[in-house]
Symmetry: C2
Subunit: 342 residues, 2 copies
DNA sequence: CTGAAAGCGCTTACAG
DNA sequence: CTGAAAGCGCTTACAG
């Protein structure tokens, strides 16, 4: 593989000049520029990024730190669409994505491995469990960072800007709940995500409660079941909830809603005639079930795209740090909800 | 961030010694080793990979070159499970994955971008379209490489070993076809992938034809429709095939089979009573449809794992280049197939 | 067993 | 506008 020396020799200039031409520095005469570019062509030269990186320049790599184990990640359609958005932007801008998932036993390992490399221009992180502080090291490293999730207050740096991007979980849950209430439902079961896991879950819970309150409908803790976002956990949650005879169930993601739908069907409950069902995310399959799933659409791809765009402009110093960006959600009404049987 | 000089100073040794300790070279006295390790701890030092890379050592990064655009990739459950397998192994061995997808207009871009970096210990590629030679540059670079797919004969290096890993597509298609034939079906529609796209498709076609032949059932070209592996294309293919009154359809992946199932249902054909359906892959959802989908299971995760393992041992010079590894497939019989209505 | 020195391939002040 | 030289942080013969 050709090096910058080969190019310099061929173009009869110094390596410094080659470097300048390649980085588009002004003040290089057109004729030498031309000669250099020609040599670059002929040798099909491209600079080794490791060398660039070492001498303090960009690496054209952004890290993606994912505090989940691969088997979890690759079965979560929502997260995958977020990552797709990131990859789309990276791809367009000729950046590569350095992927770092976590060991099952240690969510933080995703961050640590990435940092060790010291080889990325910036990092996109997914928010980790409430209360943990994965980014302390990251913060200390001073590397550009954007989080997909909610701002976390860091003891170490209470005033720093979080660069956080997330959807309007509160409003999504509020609207979903009010949709059911407007249909006359008063016994609304809830399938939540793990307690104390992520801010998004807390926000959705808040939306659910505020929705009930707006209709003067009491919050009933026994109507809340906790899943882990898998279809199976939605199935189990439905097993717990249905004996309490809710007329509707609101689930914090679509997969769990589908699990609940399956269980309902197995015990002979018709959706939506005897049970209304609302999900969250609007994954691809939500419109493929029978009936289609009413759900709160999150702009997943867009979330990833915006995170990547923000990160790239932070890296390029084209924009300033920010605290948070909130993306709107949208209630998508399909066949799985209907007014309560009278 | 601490450098090797900081560590050397603190441990009162040379940087050479630090380097040796860190790379586990023998012939370092236990006491200095201990002192160095201590300093490493105290400074929480980790070597910058860019520097390592430059001085000719490992980068602990493997490249994953995917000749598809992100929107395609992230909607293909089979490919995602393959990648999951790769990531699992990488993760375990403390390797990172450098992701490179293609621009829509140019599948090769995935390879080129990766190569430019010159920053990976090895590359895993997905087989590209039959006839194209994406790996010429890669081959020239001499970098370790494993392909998920079939060996492609390279004009440039006709005798090189391909390091290719794939499933036994021929046998899978053969068994699927014979399963239908054994159930009495004689009009078996086929939903293929794009023609001249990948060896796997050719092999499955061969399996289908040989299956028919074994039952003295003629191959009828008009019963073959071509899709692009999306559910929608399976739906369209069924639109074309059903007017020809096949009693069964064999689809080259599960998503297209599900599309066909949807169309069949829309036109009032019951599966499996009036139409038997067989897929390929056994994605997660194949068991979730109603009825469950009979399909040819490919060990997707395993495919990725083995590719990663092979690559890592090639990198470590623990094993030799190979031509191909073929993984067995398994016919999974569920509710979507039944003997032909008499 | 340990260390001085060269080298990996770039970029960036700095001088001209 | 151009180039000589130092430096980025490591590793690896080589000498001791």
């Amino acid at each position: 593989m050709a090096t910058i020396y080969d190019v310099a020799r061929r173009a009869k200039v110094s390596t410094a000049t080659v470097s300048k031409v390649l980085s588009n520095t002004p003040y290089v005469s057109d004729t030498t520029k031309e000669r250099v570019l020609e040599a670059v062509q002929e040798l099909s030269y491209s600079p080794r990024l490791a060398a660039r990186s070492l001498s303090g320049n960009r690496t054209f790599v952004i890290g993606l730190a994912i505090p989940y184990a691969p088997d979890y990640l690759f079965n979560d359609p929502f997260l995958l669409q977020v990552i797709r958005g990131v990859e789309e932007i990276a791809n367009e801008r000729d950046y590569n994505l350095l992927f770092s998932t976590a060991l099952r036993s240690n969510p933080q390992s995703a961050y640590n491995r990435l940092l060790q490399h010291g080889y990325v221009d910036g990092v996109i992180t997914l928010e980790t469990a409430v209360g943990s502080e994965p980014s302390r090291k990251l913060e200390a490293s001073g590397i550009a960072r954007v989080t997909i999730g909610y701002p976390v207050s860091l003891d170490a740096a209470p005033n720093r800007l979080a660069n956080a991007i997330h959807c309007d979980d509160y409003r999504g849950a509020l609207e979903a709940t009010q949709h059911l209430l407007a249909l006359g439902h008063r016994h609304i079961g809830l399938i939540s995500g793990p307690a104390n896991f992520m801010m998004a879950i807390d926000e959705r819970l808040r939306g659910y409660r505020d929705g009930l309150q707006a209709y003067n409908s009491p919050f009933q803790p026994e109507l809340v079941a906790y899943g882990d976002f898998t279809l199976e956990s939605g199935y189990s949650a439905a097993q717990k909830l249905l004996p309490l005879s809710p007329t509707a169930i609101f689930s914090f993601n679509d997969r769990m809603a589908m699990g609940a739908m399956r269980y309902a069907r197995e015990v002979g409950l018709s959706v939506p005639d005897q049970l209304s069902l609302v999900g969250f995310d609007d994954v691809d399959l939500a419109k493929a079930t029978e009936p289609g799933l009413t759900t709160v659409r999150q702009p997943a791809v867009n979330l990833g795209q915006i995170a990547a765009q923000k990160l790239l402009s932070l890296i390029a110093h084209e924009s300033e740090a920010f605290d948070e960006v909130v993306l709107p959600v949208e209630l998508i009404i399909r066949g799985s909800t209907r007014s309560v049987a009278s």
